[in-house]
């Protein structure tokens, strides 16, 4: 019998209970509804903290597994499990959900009950995706999460909300239906939907995919994930969805939903289709680099502050994809870290942009200017978050980007060189926009009378700032726990490489390695093998 109780099931279904309880309530007592939603999401966060105890440091494989027969024909199991990567992504989700609830305290007046129900259901879908170890179950949660998000955008969004919501659903669905075909194809080849079983069959050599089918399967999965990330030519839904979504929706979308794509690449594309991943890596890297630079350049010229943050996501997620497809354990660690860091930083940026919107009802940068005089606290928080997003050392953004570039450099220095351009550009667009919004003279009379952060906003932002700082300083807390899981992914995608690398270091240390031995020891302290 599997040990560990039913913590994972509780994590998935507790918000369902909360949502059901909310639905029972009368719709007019907004305050009570908000409190219940807050209570549920905070309790969920506390539950998820138990994961830290359940996933021992350095243990490979899945922990806290649960498995039950669900559907007999074809055999589908309710199989859950967690490892270092998914644990932190779940934590990110459960952390951002109460933040989103809190951020919607005042701004959501219209149909508040449904709003919080949708937010909790979204959490269910996302946590379910991260914890599923059965391909079918994974797909189920993957699809399920679409509808709450579409409603969040479509009902509580801004002017062009309906267009954005429909576009979001259609884009995601196009990818996911093709992924379903891929999943079924894989089932046909293996006779199971169980991810660990399929992985085992691959390592045993029981399952050998031909080169063309493997590539097609890889693409079926990759395109679905690439739409979600979004990777460069498939990104056009993102700015619309972000700009039109309410603040909480943007936070969840940028903070968590985009990570589903990169998580899927790590969990499915690389381990299941290693050969195809290798063959595609070059092209994926090119797209990722285009995304990094293109996203940054578009951010630079954005007149709309929210769109600027949205495009910065395209750029930052490009780093993550690059880190994954560089096939180096350091860059893989960096990709995981960057996913978490981006979730917190960009979430915080959207919160700040939302707060500006609450005050001025516009996202246009030209409408702002000189805001640091009327609202100094908000300006300070904005600067702090922007610096974390552009990768200032000691804050969270730095660790991820640094590790990604370091790892990528070891494999393909050219990729790293191009990607590093993105770091510079991100400093440009963030600082420049900061300057235009907060410094200079107050150009518009309306801006003179703005009120600074309220106590509630103050606490939200302080929480985010503490987490940002903590992640920047105490990054080994995370990297030590994700090391085993990323190593597993690396072993599956490139067993011979790890072996060769070990041998090369032992046999004849290259000059490059000697000079960076200090970095090497630091990396070891970070818990990266």
């Amino acid at each position: 019998m599997l040990s560990g109780g039913h913590l994972l099931s509780v994590l998935i279904f507790f918000p369902v209970v909360g949502a059901a309880a909310l639905m029972m309530l009368r719709g007019d007592d907004d305050k009570f509804i908000r409190s219940i939603a807050m209570l549920v999401s905070v309790a969920e966060f506390l539950f998820s903290l138990l994961l830290l105890r359940g996933v021992p440091i350095g243990s490979s494989g899945y922990q806290l597994e649960e498995s039950a027969k669900w559907i007999t024909a074809p055999p589908i199991h309710y199989h859950l499990g967690v490892d270092g990567i998914s644990m932190f992504l779940v934590l990110l989700t459960t952390f951002l959900t109460p933040i989103s609830v809190w951020a919607s305290w005042q701004s959501i007046q219209h149909r508040a009950k449904e709003f919080f129900v949708m937010l909790l259901l979204l959490e269910v879908g996302v946590v379910g995706v991260f914890l599923s170890l059965d391909l079918f179950l994974f797909f189920l949660f993957w699809e399920l999460m679409l509808i709450p998000m579409a409603f969040l955008i479509g009902i509580w969004g801004h002017e062009r909300r309906v267009y954005a919501a429909v576009k979001f659903v259609l884009y995601t669905m196009t990818g996911s239906i093709l992924m379903l075909v891929g999943i079924i194809w894989l089932y046909n080849a293996t006779g199971t939907f169980d991810l660990p079983t399929i992985q085992q069959m691959l390592t045993n050599g029981q399952l050998v995919l031909g080169s063309r089918p493997e590539m097609l399967l890889f693409l079926a999965f990759f395109v679905a994930f690439a739409i979600k990330v979004p990777v460069f030519p498939l990104h056009t839904w993102l700015p619309d969805a972000h700009v039109e979504a309410p603040t909480a929706g943007s936070v969840m979308l940028a903070g968590v939903l985009l990570k589903l794509g990169t998580y899927g690449m790590m969990r499915f594309c690389l381990p299941l289709f290693p050969e195809a991943s290798h063959r595609a890596a070059r092209w994926v890297a090119v797209l990722a680099i285009i995304g990094i630079i293109y996203g940054a350049l578009v951010s630079m010229v954005q007149p709309n502050l929210k769109k600027l943050v949205a495009y910065s996501s395209v750029s930052h997620l490009g780093f993550v994809v690059l880190g994954i497809f560089a096939f180096h354990h350091i860059s893989m660690q960096g990709a995981v870290f960057q996913m978490l860091a981006h979730g917190v930083s960009t979430g915080a940026l959207f919160l700040l942009v939302g707060m500006l919107y609450d005050r001025r009802h516009t996202f246009e940068i030209s409408e702002f200017g000189g805001l640091s005089t009327p609202i100094p606290k908000l300006a300070a928080f904005f600067l702090f978050v922007a610096l974390s997003s552009l990768g200032l050392p000691l804050l969270n953004g730095f660790v991820g980007e640094f590790l990604i570039l370091l790892g990528t450099y070891q494999r393909h220095w050219g990729w790293a060189a191009w990607a590093a351009l993105g770091v510079i550009l991100s400093a440009c667009y963030l600082l420049w926009s900061y300057q235009r919004v907060f410094f200079g003279d107050i150009s518009s009379e309306k801006n003179r009378t703005l009120v600074d952060v309220s106590a509630r906003e103050h606490w939200i932002l302080a929480t985010m700032a503490v987490v940002i700082l903590w992640m920047g300083i105490a990054s080994p807390f995370i990297t030590r726990r994700t090391a085993a899981a990323t190593q597993t992914v690396m072993d599956q995608v490139e067993p011979q490489w790890a072996y060769e690398a070990a041998r090369r270091v032992q046999a004849k240390p290259q000059p490059k390695n000697v000079s960076s031995s200090a970095a090497q020891t630091r990396i070891e302290r970070l818990g990266i093998r």
Binding site: I71, T72, A73, P74, F139, L140, F141, E143, L144, L146, I147, A150, F151, G154, I155, R161, V162, A165, V166, V169, L170, M173, T174, I177, L178, L180, V181, I184, W185, Y187, N188, L216
Partner: protein
Amino acid sequence: MFAQAIDLHRVLPELIWCAFGVLVMFLQPFVRSRRFFTFLALLGSLAGTAGAATAFLHGGPAFQGLVQSDSFTFFFRLLVGSVSFLVVLAAGPYLDREKLPIAEFYALLFFATAGMGVLASAQELLTAFIGLEMSSISSYVLAGYRRDSLRSSESAMKYFLLGSFATAFFLYGIALVYGATGTTLLDKMALSDGTSTLLKLGLALILIGLGFKVAAAPFQVWTPDVYEGAPTPVTALFSAGPKAAAFALLLRIFATVPAATRYWFWAFWVLAVLTMFAGNLGALVQTNMKRLLAYSSIAHAGYILVAFAAVTSMAQGGSEEAAPAYAAVLFYLLSYALVKLGAFTIVSQLGGTGEKNLSMDDYAGLSERQPFVAAMLSIYLLSLLGLPVTAGFFGKFYIFKAAVNSHLISLAVLMAINSVIGAYYYLRVIVVMYMRESSAEAVAAGPVPFPIGVNAVLLITFVGTILFGVYPNPVINFILRPSLLGH
């Protein structure tokens, strides 16, 4: 040759339905209470469905093999019986509202149901033809049941003319098949070598005739007009009952006759693709809810035909491995019937007296006015779309699986593309309901009342949709039984 008791036992449901049809007609001049007839009709459809169970328990061939009572037949009898039960529940309030005579409606419904039962159990082509005619002729009348409505009459006329034309094809096909093989019994036909051109031609004509009944492109043109004009509960019946029965017969013919399976794979492939695209592309531009659902019906027939292509491509190597593909058809028909009945019932009720409010604009802001109804309709639409935790998802999943299993990857991809096109128009309805404001008149008119019969339909279809979407095991295990295929 006289009928043995066991023969009668094996066609018990059809006998019960016919008997109740006659009884209703007989009582019609004497009993004034409308409610009485509704109860009688409910009783009749339930009794017939119960009769299906006893017929199944005493299963086997009846009347020298003209009719077969096996679990396949049982499944379809159960399906059409339940459909007619739900249609009665929904039609009672509708007929009261439209002030239409009630007894004749139920009588015709009974005959149509009996016809569908015969169609599903027929093991011989002429018996199938009788079943087809029974259900079709009742359907023609039912389509024109709102006599004072121009649209309804147009619908009946169109359905009748085109339907008879298609039936003629079917009959001519039977004649040619008989000429080629010397028999109309399906199991005897299975033994013939099936190389003669005459047989192929006959089967082609049969395919055309049944293709019309299931609304497969290019024989689908009648569907939107007929569905739109017919009284909405009748539309619900059309989309669920006769379609399922025709698919049952199609499955029997093209899965059991080797001559049929061998040559018809490509025909089904082409039909499936045409039908999916015709339905989905047509639905994109509809603003009338009934027409939209009619086009969606066509699209769904296309999805089912994908499973047919899978069946016929696999049955070449023996039908044991084709079982999941059959099961996909059956499960899909079940999930689809549930959802379409629910959706059309809501459309019927929201239409108001004279079915005036059928445009999508009338649904604007429905979630504010009637949140419960809007939520239900959304669930049905999401099931049609194929989103998880609904029966429609598993239906689609099994078809995808069947297609991939037969290595019909390109067909699976085309179906995936169609699903996305379909998502657009289903979502459009949800968007209108949830994200647009109600018109002033709609708010002034107040919420549309939902009588208990209609609510019962919604409850049953809703529970079914979710239940089979979460736990399809009982159904799928039943329809995967080896005996289901009769060989």
